[in-house]
Point group: C2
Chain length 225, copies 2
Amino acid sequence: MLIEDNYQQQIDKTAVTTPEPERKVDFILKAAQKRLGLYGYEKTTMQEIADDICMSKASLYYYYPDKDSLFRAVIENEQKEFSLELEKRIAELTEADTMIMELVDIRHTLFRKFLNLSKFRLSDEYKAKPFLNELYINIRSIETEILTTVLNKGKISGIFQFDDATELAHLFSDLLQGLRIMEMKRMTRLEMTETENDHLIKVLREATTLFINGLKYNKLQLTIK
Amino acid sequence: MLIEDNYQQQIDKTAVTTPEPERKVDFILKAAQKRLGLYGYEKTTMQEIADDICMSKASLYYYYPDKDSLFRAVIENEQKEFSLELEKRIAELTEADTMIMELVDIRHTLFRKFLNLSKFRLSDEYKAKPFLNELYINIRSIETEILTTVLNKGKISGIFQFDDATELAHLFSDLLQGLRIMEMKRMTRLEMTETENDHLIKVLREATTLFINGLKYNKLQLTIK
DNA sequence: CTTTGACTTTTTAAACAAAATAGTCAGATA
DNA sequence: TATCTGACTATTTTGTTTAAAAAGTCAAAG
């Protein structure tokens, strides 16, 4: 009976308290996100985040074992949103070429977010925390996976012609990232101005169009032959 | 008569001594090139170059006012070779698409040379001497200029379709450079292994093929319409 | 379970000294 | 007169020490 009672009590407790810490974690996450977005990883201290939400620094460490894992959580949040949004939007489309275009657009908004969150100078890139690089690799693999699927869909539907979808996806992913880097090299500040952003998205779309048309040309050439 | 004599003497002297310093300059240049190719700008001292050719450091400064101008001379040498080679090889071709392919290949050899000569870590890029950046800009403008011409040739000959050749040339140039950077980011060492080099040239060619085919597709679409 | 103040450890920043290298120049040499 | 050099100065880089800041820990309390 005593045990039963205890058990009941425990259930009740979890029912009440479980949402509590989750809310707290989100609360911390939100504060961290704000600081990170404003000042970047290096220029944000745990003390500041703690102060922002009137909490002691030690409490922060109760929820997150270290600074990295807190910031990782923030960024993984963004990434998850990206993945979901991407899946959703692509599901609404039917043609492979428009899917790729959509991917490029959505991926670009994620890029902008990350640019803020990490806020490293290109020159300080080598200092970048390893987890940021891990994260980039992660995003790249999500991106190339979806791209591979879409490319194959285009091949089956008969608008594209190529040999290896995975290889092509990697090439395209690098091509886009390379263009982003080139554009960033021309920036003087850490932030992108609206003009710079507009130019980047324009370049990305132009390159994508050429890429897509290149694949279509292969197909056309085949059918002509 | 005395004046005449003096004049004659001067002529003679220049006739004899002018080739001398030119040979000397080339001698120095060669030594500098060797050191630069082996160790890069930062890790090469003027003393070392002087020692290599059994000359005092001060003498080096007699021929070149500073370290920058010596290294600039070395690099401009390579660049000139590139331009000449490029013009020559392109003149031998008739089709715009093969010209672009040739340009990519020759440009790649220049890239490799520069990789050796500058030998900066990507992470140290911000330290790079301004003249290296100037030089890159210079090469880019040579490249885009030729590309613009070739693209227009392709448009006139009727295999390409596009709006603005110059804009397209810049896009393509960035696209290639972006891919080079992406590949370099994956290198652990400063030098490229043969495998890495092979992969890079493969990627560059694939991207170029897609680019070219993209332009051809535009044309095909037009003629079909 | 959660929170915290007070604590230790690690990292970053500043200041300074020492070493290395770029760059100069008066005078020698041919 | 053009070229070269040893001996110099100026500048940059590197290393070292110390102080400050921030990360991270923990016993104790609510």
